[in-house]
Amino acid sequence: MAVIGAFCVSVNKEICVNARMSGKCATCAEVCPHGVYSLDPDSGHMEVVNYNACVGCRICAEFCPTNAIRINPAEPEYISRYPWTLAAVEEVHYKAQTGEYLLRGFGTHGQTPNFDMITVVPSQIASQAPRDKYREECDMEVVIGEDTCEKPMRLKVPFVWAAMSFGALSKEAKMALAIGAAMTGIATNTGEGGVLPEEIYLSRGYTDPEMTRKRFDPGGNLIIQWSTGRWGVSVDYVNSGDAVEVKIGQGAKPGMGGHLLGAKVTDDVALVRGIPKGSDALSPCRYYDVQDMGDMKNMVAFLRDVTNYQYPILFKLGPSRPYADVAACIEAGADAISIDGLVGGTGCSPDIVTQGVGIPTIACIPPAVQALKDYGVHHKVKLIALGGIRNGLDAFKAMAMGADAVGFGSAAEVAMGCRVCYACQKGNCPYGITSHKPELRARLDPVDAGQRLANFIHACAEEIKILTMLSGHSRTVDLSTEDLRAMDLNTAALTGLKLAGYERQLPMWEALQNGNK
């Protein structure tokens, strides 16, 4: 039966009809199945007499003619109403009314296994002494493609912006990301929406297409994405950056292609993507021009060929079977592999896919690293971890688990002003980040937002420096799983990290890794 005291029932007496004219309305009392409300037959006043009986169904709120009733959980609905929380109920109502499934933007919400139950092990007396963050140096540069191309890509700090397309994002947001990359020496990514001319020169730090006036030092890198939709792709497109990324999947909707609904395919977006204005740009889920590993290798070969062997080739994976997927990318000839975990966001995706499909980032990294080690290419073929990385602490943990760098996608949007309303697909972003409406885009100044992004990167780089040095290292490449401990059994089981207190890996992980030797 009803859980005692689980809900707070508030009636706004200023708009409640009965409060202003007693006896005129008793709707709440009539519809409530549990007797929370009562109408005094003599005075005509309606009172909340038994709030303990409220089960949070909110039928009263729905029927109230002036919307005067507010029901708030006194304890999380997850406890008192699970599995029929308000969210589950509303979802069924929506489907019953429309016959459609929910589409939304951003990433997974709700608790999923994450970095929080991992802790960093500081150096002490029994290990290598800590380094001094304030007075000593920390080397955190990452180089991609050192042995395979003419112009390896250098990241001054171990971060990249995740691939977010023009279309999902506004032009101003893409420009801001380019400027942010230029100001910090990292890389921005075209995403699958084609390349904006501004991205080409802004990402390198210039304010003119001819790249003569440099304003944003030290200048960054532009990763050109080759994806399943091939929006805006040509030989010139592929050659307009510093690297080419072959996109296989993404964290938010692994197994599906990019979604950009017609409402956001404006003239500009249509022009860059080369498609009709207003049409839904639904990228295919796979490459129609690759059927097997042989085809994939041939594709990488001609991509290297048309870029004259200048640039590194990266691969981007969604979270599926990380060991096997990473192994396939290594075989295909990748110089770096990005793996985007469950929590990764998107501009638009079916809700069930964002919520329900994929492997948490912390569980993707260990098998990916194992594959790299088994092929003898760990730290040579670089691993970039993405999917819900929020700060330098999460990034450090990912890197100590074996990643060479991390990507910020959702965090980059929040740095630009986003407050996570999960409605990117509507195109009404009040910060101008994921909207194409001119009045909303006017609120996002690319230079200001670029500065905010650079600020965020600087702060996170300092955080990485602090953690790297206090754990006894002066180079991020020296980080290892020994610098971390899991704080609960779940995390130890998912990641293979040593469990705090026990000071060893769980037995099955020890056996697994010994078996691999």
Partner: protein, 216 residues
């Protein structure tokens, strides 16, 4: 015309040679079936292939005129943005996918998944095509003078699809429309330019039933 024997060459050296020599004059190559991605990303020039070619011939072609005497492998003219690609023989799986512009002519037959996601090219197959031809086409002209297999022109969004023979089944979101005067003039020019004897007026035309078939 200069003929290069590709028998012992790898992709890197042969494509490199082509990029240098095609500046001046037409080039012919032979014994290149083992190379995949031949002539990728060329911006100009005339390349003819004696015999057959492998997979990904002319991928990302941006303006060269490439012709092939025999058959080609899979993924002919992948993501082409300009130029012409003419194959006298047959094309394998996935010919002319993701193309933005230019003209592809296959005088023989083509396989399954021909002309996927055409975004503005003119693609002509004089023979038959397999299943799933013309999937998710967004712009351009696709002409099949022979027959097509299952799910023809599936989820057509814009552009025009013409067929001379029959298709085993029509894909989602397609509807027939009469061939217009403009179509006849346009296709006639393409047929004449490539010595294709066909009458545009005798073809059946399919267009998109709705521009927004996925979400409303």
């Amino acid at each position: 015309m200069k003929t290069i024997n590709g028998k012992t060459k790898d992709l890197r050296s042969l494509n490199g040679t082509l990029r240098e020599t095609l500046n001046g004059h037409p080039v012919q190559v032979e014994n290149v079936d083992h190379l995949h991605g031949l002539g990728a990303g060329l911006k100009h020039g005339q390349l003819s292939v004696k015999g057959g070619a492998g997979d990904y011939l002319g991928a990302l072609n941006a303006g060269a005129d490439i012709s092939v005497e025999g058959d080609v492998g899979k993924y002919l003219a992948d993501n082409m943005t300009g130029g012409t690609l003419v194959v006298n023989g047959n094309a394998g799986y996935g010919a002319a996918q993701y193309c933005y512009g230019g003209t592809v002519v296959i005088r023989g037959n083509a396989g399954d998944f021909t002309a996927t996601m055409n975004k503005g090219a003119t693609i002509v197959v004089c023979g038959d095509v397999g299943d799933e031809a013309g999937t998710y086409m967004l712009k351009g002209d696709l002409v099949i003078l022979g027959n097509a297999g299952k799910n023809f022109a599936n989820y057509l969004i814009r552009g025009s699809v013409f067929i001379g023979g029959e298709c085993e089944s029509q894909g989602h979101n397609t509807k027939p429309e009469p061939v217009s005067e403009e179509d006849i003039v346009r296709l006639h020019a393409v047929f004449e330019a490539h010595n294709i004897s066909a009458d545009p007026a005798s073809l059946k035309k399919l267009v998109a039933a709705s521009e927004k078939p996925f979400y409303h």
